[in-house]
């Protein structure tokens, strides 16, 4: 097992206990929620010399960027499971590698077909071409155009990840300047290029792919990225952008690549925590915030559910906008419009997750042993129609009977997560509704959901069921209860245009500042959204430091060449 350079969790608890006694101490800033964005935000504030405290309700940090041992000898990244969007600027600036973070790229993906065939998206370009050509030569050629077109859109959005979105209704110099940067980026596309961009940002992924390809399994394979974590179907307008959200990251400059965090996604949170502590920041676990204290119209601190009060003039919420404004703030402290906006904020539960301990490596129909395809994302659902029908189930408030699945067995690459020769499988499931036929999820519902997914996988892997040693099933209910994501939405809010850029989380509040002076937001509910990017946390820190007239500690984004 790898030992991190940072403090182990056990050491951490003792330090926290000492800190607990100093309840009267006033901090410069309190960050509510120890998710990756809260930790990032706190790290940058601490780096700027502020005395910062992060409050985490759970006994462990990381939020949805977490790895836990729920079955002896196995570590599960039981929420987020792969890494691409984490901004390299932040990784480098906060010295996360020194604090133990190692991201290992993996390539490719595969979709299993009902007829026993499969579509393998190999990382090697030539091999990928031959595989697409096996299904359709024309599609194999069209893929080049598709890649170039998507890359164009990716290049457009990437420079704005580490920037604060402008307010288009504002006439402030900074907003106008930033609007000009935005306008210029769009203008460079040319009239038809701009039209293509507008199309891309508003179309459904299904319609978009129909414009390129004829092979259904290829379309289904690519469309997965358009629906993951989203309460929309492949034929819902807006899903092409969601695909972009999965493509705009990079590993070591390879745009669109994904990687494993060695030791699980918790390694990211642990490294961020270690960075925070290296700048003198503090973390308190088992400390759930009940309310943000507002006095005389300004932020004063927080009250914990255990009654303790902690004071700071800056309070940053890493929670989603609904929780922030409807649960831990008092309506009387808020302007009416923000309550309305928070209520209308779209944060929909649409996904579930299975984490499975396996006695050995399962085999899959048609896939040769040792195929690289076993080491990458494996999808189930080989047609857009099946994917759309999975969404129809969600609309009808039930889990997909023929679910879309994105599964990985990271233990083939990462030796730290299971005993030698054993494996861990992470299974992301789309769709799972926030409520079942209008009611709350029950344990029976959860088990039935989990069994349905296992049966689905078993259809493509004959020996899969016999290898299961332990299985954790997470529905939106579990994700909400444990992590605190409303409805279990993994992106802290739908990634539709009405909630992107200057609309995220709400129009008029997209610059990380809350409606009360001293109160800020830094979660994935803010620009540029979820996906373990850490950009919201960093961007929020930059705004806070700007308000405090402190020197900025947040790095600028790397320009794309």
């Amino acid at each position: 097992m790898l030992r991190f350079l940072a403090l182990t969790p056990a050491d951490q608890v003792t330090i926290d206990k000492i800190e607990c006694n100093r309840v009267t101490k006033k901090y410069d800033a309190i960050v509510i929620g120890g998710g990756h964005n809260g930790l990032t935000n706190a790290a940058y504030l601490a780096k700027a010399g502020l005395e910062v405290l992060v409050l985490e309700k759970n006994p462990y940090i990381g939020g949805a960027t977490v790895s836990r041992e729920l079955h002896e000898g196995w570590k599960y990244s039981n929420c987020s499971y792969v890494c691409s969007l984490l901004r390299p600027e932040i990784t480098r600036d906060l010295e996360l590698p020194r604090h133990g973070l190692q991201v290992i790229p993996y390539g490719g993906s595969v979709t299993f077909c009902q007829n026993g065939d499969y579509f393998g998206d190999y990382p090697d370009h030539g091999r990928q071409y031959r595989e697409i050509a096996r299904h359709s030569v024309r599609d194999a050629d069209a893929y080049e155009r598709y890649s170039a077109d998507v890359m164009k859109q990716t290049r457009l959005i990437r420079p704005f990840l580490m920037r604060t979105p402008p307010d288009p209704t504002s006439l402030k110099l900074r907003d106008l300047k930033e609007m000009r940067v935005l306008a210029k980026a769009f203008a460079e596309l040319g009239e038809e290029g701009l039209a293509d961009t507008l199309k891309f940002w508003t179309m459904s992924i299904g319609d978009y792919l129909d414009g390129y390809f004829e092979t259904d399994v290829l379309k289904a394979h690519l469309a997965g990225s358009g629906i993951i974590g989203t309460a929309l179907g492949v034929y819902s307008p807006g899903t092409a952008y969601v695909l972009l959200h999965h493509y705009m990251g990079d590993v070591d400059g390879t745009v669109g690549a994904w990687g494993f965090a060695r030791g699980g996604m918790g390694a990211i949170a642990d490294a961020l925590a270690a960075a925070l502590q290296s700048y003198g920041g503090e973390i308190k676990r088992d400390a759930e915030v009940g309310q943000i204290i507002v006095k005389d119209g300004v932020t004063r601190g927080v009250a914990l559910t255990n009654g303790d009060e902690l004071y700071a003039d800056i309070v940053v919420s890493n929670l989603d906008p609904k929780r922030t404004f409807l649960k831990i703030m008092d309506a009387k402290d808020l302007p009416e419009d923000i309550i309305h906006k928070a209520k209308n904020f779209k944060i929909r539960g649409s996904s579930g997750k299975l984490n499975i301990a396996l006695d050995g490596l399962p085999t899959f129909n048609g896939i040769p042993k040792n195929s690289p395809l076993l080491r990458c994302d494996m999808h189930i659902l080989d047609s857009l129609e099946r994917m759309e029908k999975a969404y129809d189930d969600w609309k009808a408030e039930t889990w997909s009977k023929d679910p879309y699945v994105d599964m990985l067995i990271p233990t083939q690459v990462d030796p730290t997560m299971a005993p030698p020769g054993k494996h861990m499988m992470t299974v992301f499931v789309q769709y799972a509704p926030p409520k079942i036929n209008g009611g709350e999820w029950t344990d029976d519902d959860r088990d039935a959901f989990g069994n349905n997914v296992i049966e689905q996988i078993a259809k493509y892997s004959p020996d899969f069921k016999d290898l299961i040693l332990h299985c954790e099933v997470r529905t939106p209910r579990e994700i909400e209860d444990e992590v605190g994501l409303t409805e279990g939405n993994i992106f802290m809010g739908e990634l539709t245009f009405d909630q992107l850029l200057f609309n995220r989380p709400f129009p008029g509040y997209a610059q990380y500042r809350g409606p009360v002076p001293g109160m800020y937001m830094c979660g994935s509910g803010t620009h540029p959204g979820g996906g373990v990017m850490a950009a919201p946390g960093a961007n929020a820190a930059r705004e806070i430091l700007l308000d405090l007239k402190r020197p900025n500690t947040v790095p600028a984004g790397y320009p794309d060449d």
């Binding site: 209704t169 203008a187 199309k199 508003t202 129609e385 029908k389 609309k395 245009f497 609309n503 129009p507």
Partner: protein, 524 residues
């Protein structure tokens, strides 16, 4: 070739309402215009047909609610015979139990609707009307190119920009948020009453391949509300059916010197290198003109009349990727007496009736369409025009006309087999709300999108000549590279619903196209 033919300045292919509007404006600007219509009647989808002996009905569109007042007055349509027998009708959302909800433009009436919803409806209406006004300001002129810094487009953009700022910060932010959102969420945000929500969302999805949960449907709704900006406080009924609109427009065109030829189907648009020289009719007759304006939809125009082989590949690709699958069928029923919709007075039966009890009902109806199936329980927009216009049926008799969703053009099982069962299903569905209607039926017909495609030469049978979704409107309509009414072939223009601003009996596409052609001079 006669002298008259060589003396034509502009040929308009298709005598639909936009073609006629375009022709009239061009003739008034001194152009010698020839309109060639494939069918016997002019007006295109603004048509009336006698579907059973003595029973007539509006074939396609059944309400007039968006005709642009400037176009109507410029063309002196009233003088040329257009008469409205009823206007500012209510929309009544039918409930099986009979406790229906009545929507007026600025209020909602029903025992079952809460005061909170009534207040919310007023507020919602005011805001939507503001947004529709802004939209209208962009509809009466060509859609601006965003980067080509010419004065006309900059002015349009500036006006739009100022219009947005004039909304005020709160409304402007709402507009930015709502522009791409789905009507389902907006309904959930504003109202509690299921019937009310369903009736409003119906207006967001009519004529389109979208359900209430499809993003973009708020735009569809705003587009429909353009009628309010044009002075319609509800739908209107045209004397003689919608065909009378076509006839009035044709009369207006004729009065301005436009030559109108019916049953003159254009086989192809002729080219020399990549310049238009005229058209060839199915009869083999060749008519020359330096400018050809097509009122046909973009696919028909470029794929069939010009031919994909005669345009560049990128253009052809864009055209073939336009989404224009019709999803709307039309039911016509001849009745020997007035039907009895539960809980409605006779006056109320003369209003616009909606069958869509809940938003989920519409959504489920749409689900089927996604998979190439017709809705097992369709949503409908029903009219009984004979309550206003006795001339459409024998004395004491009535016709009922219903716009039915969803019925996809590309039905998996094929319309040949599906047409009869679907018609029965639709009638059964109406009979649930109007018990006893079946006993009154003298004759009935169902026009599928396939029928509409054949009847009106619309590719895919789509009423709007192309889906009205955000990626296919304004400067992206009909497709990037062919905006502002000129097609990527010299001398060829487009003036149909497939161009900005889109479908509906509005007349603006024809109006804007004429302005653009005049501006560019005869050469095109």
């Amino acid at each position: 070739m006669t002298d008259a033919q060589t003396n034509t300045d502009v040929i308009i292919v298709g005598g639909g309402h936009n073609g006629l509007v375009c022709a009239t404006y061009l003739a008034r600007a001194g152009r010698r215009v020839l309109v060639l219509e494939a069918n016997a009647a002019l007006g295109g989808a603004a048509a009336t047909r006698e579907f059973a002996d003595g029973y007539s009905v509006s074939t396609c569109a059944q309400w007039l609610y968006q005709l642009n007042p400037k176009v109507a007055s410029d063309l002196e349509l009233e003088k040329h015979g257009l008469e409205l027998l009823a206007r500012d009708l209510d929309t009544i959302a039918l409930a099986l139990a009979g406790n229906h909800v009545t929507l007026k433009t600025d209020s909602v009436e029903s025992d079952s609707v809460s005061d909170g919803d009534k207040l919310a409806y007023r507020r919602f209406n005011q805001q939507m009307l503001k947004f529709s006004k802004l939209l209208a300001s962009a509809c009466e002129r060509r859609a601006p190119k965003l980067l080509d810094n010419n004065f006309t487009d900059l002015l349009t953009l500036a006006k739009l920009g100022i219009g947005m700022k004039m909304l005020g910060k709160a409304d402007m932010r709402d507009l930015i948020r709502l522009a791409l959102i789905n009507i389902y969420d907006v309904m959930e945000e504003n109202f509690d009453n299921e019937l009310l929500k369903a009736a409003i969302s119906m207006d967001g999805v009519l004529g389109s391949h979208m359900g209430p949960r499809s993003p973009n449907t708020v735009f569809g709704y705003l587009y429909r509300r353009l009628g309010d900006v044009y002075g319609y406080r509800g739908p209107a009924v045209v004397k003689g059916g919608m065909g009378a609109v076509g006839e009035a427009m044709a009369a207006s065109a004729r009065a301005c010197g436009v030559e109108l030829r019916t049953e003159a189907r254009v086989e192809k648009i002729n080219l020399e290198l990549d310049r238009v020289t005229g058209v060839t009719l199915v009869s083999g007759e060749v008519v020359d003109a330096p400018v050809v304006v097509s009122n046909a939809d973009p696919k028909t125009t470029l794929e069939k009349l010009i031919g994909f082989r005669n345009i560049e590949t990128g253009v052809a690709r864009r055209v073939s990727n336009i989404r224009m699958q019709g999803n709307t069928a039309k039911l016509h029923v001849a009745l020997k007496g007035l039907p009895d919709f539960k809980g409605l007075t006779d006056t109320e039966q003369g209003q616009r009736l909606i069958i869509a009890p809940t938003m989920n009902y519409i959504e489920l109806a749409f689900n089927a369409a996604k998979y190439g199936e017709y809705s097992p329980a369709p949503a409908m927009d029903i009219s009984i025009p004979t309550l206003h216009d006795k001339s459409l049926a024998p004395a004491g008799c009535h016709v009922l006309s219903a716009i039915v969703q969803f019925a996809p053009h590309d039905l998996k099982q094929g319309w040949k087999v599906a047409k009869a069962p679907f018609k029965n299903l639709v009638i059964d569905c109406i009979a649930q709300y109007a018990p006893g209607i079946k006993e009154l039926i003298v004759a009935s017909e169902l026009l599928t999108p396939e029928d509409l495609a054949n009847e009106f030469n619309m590719s895919g049978g789509h009423w709007h000549h192309g889906e009205l979704a955000v990626d296919q409107i304004m400067m992206m309509r009909p497709f990037p590279g062919a905006t502002q009414y000129s097609a990527p072939v010299d001398g060829l223009f487009l003036c149909g619903a497939g161009t900005h601003p889109g479908g509906g009996i509005m007349g603006l596409a024809g109006h804007n196209a004429a302005k653009e052609i005049i501006k560019r001079g005869t050469a095109g």
